[in-house]
């Protein structure tokens, strides 16, 4: 890795550390949230928003913006933390997460929060919408790119495979999906519930370019996002750890939406202090 790439990855690592701290505070306020998935997806969101994607936070509706859709909408605390840092709204607003009448609902609402492209929450909705946005770019000959982040358990929803089949058929080069492959769904491990492996081969069979990588490795994420396109939609199978960054949360099924106690909040912040 050259020094420039090193610098980019190091910068993203620091932003990711600060984002996880923001997530802890965001969830601590209402004592609600999905910390496990927030932490597994953090490095993916940070890499996209603070290096890869083209957007204008001061002009959220700019037609040329890259589209980002968080299909796993329950990880809104991570998304909101990133959007606030990106300048879509004041970080002060994070303190209202899930408070009565706050724009920061438990699942994102594009009509209330700048930077949100689609109201997600029910699983299996993000990829079809992203496919539509990518098709729109081909018809209008726009050069924006479309990114969608999917949970791995979410891939048990059949609508994803309807969309995957169609994206492969249309050879949607402007579309990149990222699977947050933390191997845990709400109640158990994915492979003990309705197994997904071999996941990369499934996507390839649907006409996608599949890249398997460490979803916490910013340099690897940058390489994968920036690799030359080969005339197909691209999926990154991002191997991640649910709860990544805090030892007692990491890779434990009970932390899907468990909220850390005040004592655990202090411990988590201590670990994230670096």
């Amino acid at each position: 890795m050259n020094s420039l790439a090193n610098d980019r990855a190091a910068r993203l690592a620091e932003i990711a550390r600060e984002t996880r701290i923001s997530i802890v505070h965001t969830i601590d306020a209402p004592r609600m949230g999905h910390i496990g998935g927030d932490f597994s997806v953090t490095d993916i969101l940070v890499t996209l928003f603070f290096d890869v994607m083209r957007y204008r936070a001061e002009e959220p509706g700019w037609a040329g913006r890259d589209r980002f859709i968080l299909s796993k909408g329950h990880c809104s605390a991570a998304l909101y933390s990133v959007l606030a840092r990106a300048g879509y709204f004041s970080p002060d607003l994070l303190a209202s997460f899930m408070a009565p009448l706050s724009p920061l609902n438990g699942h994102p609402n594009r009509r209330k929060v700048a930077g949100v492209e689609a109201n997600t929450g029910p699983l299996g909705h993000g990829l079809p919408i992203a496919v539509g946005a990518a098709v729109a770019a081909t018809i209008s000959k726009s050069d924006y790119r479309t990114y969608v982040v999917l949970g791995d358990g979410e891939l048990q929803e059949g609508s994803n495979w309807e969309a995957a089949m169609f994206a492969g058929h249309r050879r949607l080069e402007g579309l990149t999906a990222v699977v947050d492959r933390n191997r845990l769904q709400q109640g158990a491990r994915t492979e003990d519930t309705n197994g997904l492996d071999p996941l990369d081969e499934k996507w390839r069979a649907f006409g996608w370019e599949a890249i398997v990588l460490d979803g916490h490795d910013h340099a690897a994420l940058l390489d994968a996002f920036e690799a030359p396109r080969i005339g197909k939609p691209r999926v990154l199978i991002a191997n991640t750890r649910k709860g990544k960054g805090v030892s007692f949360i990491e890779d434990r099924v009970e932390w899907h939406h468990k909220v850390p106690s005040r004592e655990q909040v202090a411990l988590a912040l201590e670990e994230l202090a670096g």
């Binding site: 037609a63 589209r67 609402n109 594009r110 009509r111 492209e117 689609a118 109201n119 997600t120 929450g121 029910p122 299996g124 909705h125 990829l127 079809p128 919408i129 992203a130 496919v131 539509g132 946005a133 990518a134 098709v135 729109a136 770019a137 018809i139 209008s140 726009s142 479309t146 059949g158 609508s159 309807e162 969309a163 089949m165 169609f166 058929h169």
Partner: protein, 319 residues
């Protein structure tokens, strides 16, 4: 008051509204490059072959995948287009109901959901292919405008209005042939009932296929000395409450008639309004349960969704 064209045989000429729909879509697409169509292998049944031929890049056929179809339409709207989703009504509203709720209504994307061959159109194919629940399902979703054009003119006007409305819309596109019932000079006013015949004794509120039958019933009632008001309620949601309440106040009862299940549709919407604001006697005509085997024409008669049934219901209210 109606300018109904009459064929040489003397019976009113009838029309398949899909023709007016397809012609208007092509005309609109010529004017507006943002108009696109989204289909689920339904190019033929939606009569969109001409559109596809002229605008191959702007007809997106996702194959037999209705959930993806509706999500893709939301994404196309995100990308700046005005998608018209063309799909048989039962599969559009049933299979993709959560996508319609979350991706279209809650997101408030300007997508026009076109329920093709709605109601009992697919008669003999049976209840799996009937779209009689669509009004009830769509009414339960806030923010969706529900249109049910009664004839080719209303179909043309509805398509043109929907293209610029920039909001979630569900509209039926009729397959069952209907006579023209809308005066050529009638203004197109979504959300407003269209008064087709004034009357002071009883009100017939009909939608879609049932409008011409309500007019026929009013003729029969007139012969009996009963003055029937006929409202074409093209817009199921939002309901024209003022017209409904005027009918409740000014006439002795209301008969509603729709090619839809009787729970949750037009009749239910009218009842919700009058029961809270001006209780009135009512009869709700529609489809009471899964239909038996039969053509659309047979089934409409079977369920009393014809001039006879409307006349009888009106006379019951007058008794």
């Amino acid at each position: 008051m109606n300018q109904i064209s009459v064929s040489h045989a003397g019976a009113p000429e009838t029309f398949d509204c899909r023709v007016a729909f397809a012609e208007t879509m092509i005309a609109l697409a010529r004017e507006n490059p943002r108009i696109v169509a989204v289909c689920n292998d339904s190019v033929g049944s939606s009569n969109m072959g001409g559109f596809q031929k002229e605008f191959p890049d702007r007809l997106i056929n996702v194959g037999i995948a209705e959930q993806n179809m509706v999500g893709v339409a939301a994404g196309l709207a995100n990308g700046g287009f005005v998608p018209f989703v063309c799909c048989a009504g039962p599969f559009l509203t049933g299979r993709a109901l959560e996508q319609i709720k979350a991706d279209i209504a809650y997101n408030h994307y300007g997508v026009v959901l076109c329920g093709q061959s709605p109601g009992l159109s697919y008669g003999e194919l049976g209840p799996t292919h009937h779209s009689i629940e669509d009004f009830a399902w769509m009414r339960a979703l806030t923010d969706i405008t529900i249109l049910n054009p009664a004839d080719p003119k209303q179909t043309r006007d509805a398509v043109r209005w929907a293209a610029q409305a920039d909001r979630p819309i569900y509209m039926r596109v009729g397959r069952f042939k209907v006579p023209a019932v809308t005066p050529e000079d009638a203004a197109f006013e979504p959300g407003r009932a269209l008064l087709l015949r004034d009357g002071s004794d009883v009100t017939l509120i009909a939608t879609g296929v049932l409008v011409s039958r309500a007019l026929a019933a009013a003729e029969r009632l007139a012969a009996r000395g009963v003055s029937a008001r006929v409202l074409n309620m093209m817009t199921i949601a939002p309901l024209d409450q003022a017209a409904v309440l005027a009918a409740a106040r000014e006439t002795r009862g209301i008969v509603t008639a729709e090619e839809a299940i009787v729970t949750g549709g037009l009749g239910a919407a009218v009842a919700e309004t009058v029961v809270q604001h001006h209780p009135a006697r009512m009869r709700i005509l529609g489809v009471p349960h899964f239909a038996p085997t039969g053509s659309a024409a047979f089934l409409l008669d079977h369920f009393g969704l014809n001039a006879d049934g409307l006349e009888k219901a009106a006379l019951e209210l007058m008794a």
